[in-house]
């Protein structure tokens, strides 16, 4: 820990390169580090971030292929959101170093829908769009099942609907990378399952690379192509999700993966089962239906 803390260099934020996909620039202080993966949509090497004396990210390496769906799991406070904010370019005024490459078009979905309360649903989706803003926004709203709600105020929508508007707002930009920071964390279990289906459909249709930050193991298994566990500021376990896992056919494989991930998160299986029965009874009951829809 002490060594890590000592290694945290106060680098000006501008030293963290955020080049476009076309021109790949490498910061001067990265000579010793492995090179960025050439074909990846997202490439992170030796990312270090700290608040105060404590290091939050202690040298994270991460690659996401174009169109790949990666879930980032970790207990709360482990630096998941810090990593996501670094990729989103929202971490100014934070100490740290490392090299990040992200595509040109990046969209972010936050845990709160973050709709401007003074703008209509349509106005929120067109935010920052230039060409054919309204046509594209209407199409995106129809895609998330909110056609006809364009003129509503955000406060007239339910929590799930608000989050669907946020999805429409992020996808209307045709992002090459979609960053989602616990986007369904504030929703009830049933709405969450519906949103999983919607997100899966949208991602299949638009094929962005996705980094989904979550603390929900089942959500990660249900959605991701690959699961990365963040532990003590490093990417600890990287576990590909076999395509059949998540379908009802391979319940045993699902359970094994689930157990492994919970262990990696420091939760013993028996405890994990207890948590599941306490917190996710409704979700557990509805899961076969959601999995069947996949």
């Amino acid at each position: 820990m002490a060594a890590n803390t000592g290694g945290l260099t106060a680098v000006a934020p501008s030293a963290v390169e955020r080049p476009s996909a076309a021109r790949l620039a490498v910061a001067a202080n990265t000579g010793a580090r492995p090179a960025l993966a050439a074909n990846a949509a997202v490439s992170v090497r030796g990312l270090i971030r700290g608040f105060g004396p404590k290091g939050v990210l202690n040298g994270v390496d991460l690659d996401i292929a174009p169109g790949e769906f990666v879930a980032l799991l970790g207990p709360s406070g482990c630096g998941k959101s810090t990593l996501l904010r670094a990729l989103a370019g929202l971490d100014r005024d934070v100490r740290g170093s490392g090299v990040i490459r992200v595509p040109d078009r990046v969209s972010v979905v936050f845990q709160d829908s973050r709709l401007l309360p003074w703008d209509t649903v349509l106005g929120n989706v067109t935010l920052g769009l230039r060409e054919h803003a309204e046509t594209r926004a209407c199409r995106a709203l129809a895609e998330v099942g909110l056609a006809g709600r364009e003129k509503s105020w955000p406060h007239q929508l339910s929590g799930g609907e608000q989050q669907r508007v946020a999805l429409a707002r992020s996808l209307v930009r045709e992002p090459q990378l979609l960053l989602a920071d616990e986007p369904f964390g504030a929703l009830d279990a049933l709405t969450r399952i519906r949103m999983h289906g919607l997100l899966r459909d949208l991602v299949t249709a638009h094929r962005p690379a996705v980094l989904l930050v979550t603390h929900d193991v089942d959500e990660a298994i249900a959605l991701a192509d690959r699961i990365v566990v963040l532990d003590h500021g490093r990417t600890a376990t990287v576990r590909p999700v076999a395509p059949q896992v998540g379908s009802a056919a391979d319940a045993a494989g699902h359970e094994a993966l689930r157990r492994d991930l919970l262990t990696a998160l420091g939760v013993h299986t028996s405890v994990g089962t207890a948590i599941e029965s306490a917190a996710g009874a409704a979700e557990a009951a509805a899961r076969p239906a959601a999995a069947g829809a996949r």
Binding site: V108, L116, D119, G292
Partner: protein, 287 residues
Amino acid sequence: MSAATVLERPAVAPHQHPDLADREDVRPAGRRLGPGPRRRLAWLLGPSALLLLWTVSSGTGLLDPRVLSEPWTVVVTAGELIADGRLQENLAVSAQRALLGLIFGTVVGAVLALVAGLSRVGEALIDGPVQIKRAIPGLALIPLLILWFGIDETMKVLTITLGVFVPVYLQTYAGLRGIDLRYVELAQTVRLSRASFIRRVVLPGALPGFFLGLRFAVTGAWVSLVVVEQINATSGIGYMMELARTYGQTNIIVLGLAVYGILGLLSDGTVRLIERKALSWQRTLAG
């Protein structure tokens, strides 16, 4: 989703259910903490009660007419002054002064608030002087303004402007700086240009504060008006009242007060109406 099961349930709310139709609602009455639904013309209740109290006190002789004229005397006086044209003439002059001062002050206050709120340089340059101005009573500036601008309209409108811009600045600035940082982050992630950021996020976000400032400003404009018209004027409602004081005409003084009161109430009501239309996206206790 694919295997959705529809659970059949009677679509009748309990209180509409035939078996329960003649039963009383036995739920304990929940305590409602909000102020309840809005009622039309309810704002008239307070002023009407005041008028009633005045009428009754005068009618019963509790209030000496030499202290405060009776309401009916004031009405008769108003009729006379309207008949010879003095009331509307003076009212027009007063209203023009107040309106000009209000417009200039509002524009100056809002622009200064935007500059101070959006840039650190602007904040460093503007906020301090405005706070100093805020600490100096408007009336204390009048002698200096008279020396600089004489006693004509410029001095009067300027005094009102100086009284108006401070609350508009303060509330707009506070509203602007109170915009949730999460929206600023959002604007960054969708790569809003600076101009779009101001138009789509800053201005609408600062609008509630602006309207609060405007309501203070409207009242402030009338207050400043009274002062400038009673010190150095040859026209206006304040001049009319000042003249009446010289001749001991209580009825005209009270009429002037009533006119100021009505103007204040009407202008505040107008601002609130515009505010409610412009901020219809808000869901607050005000309803």
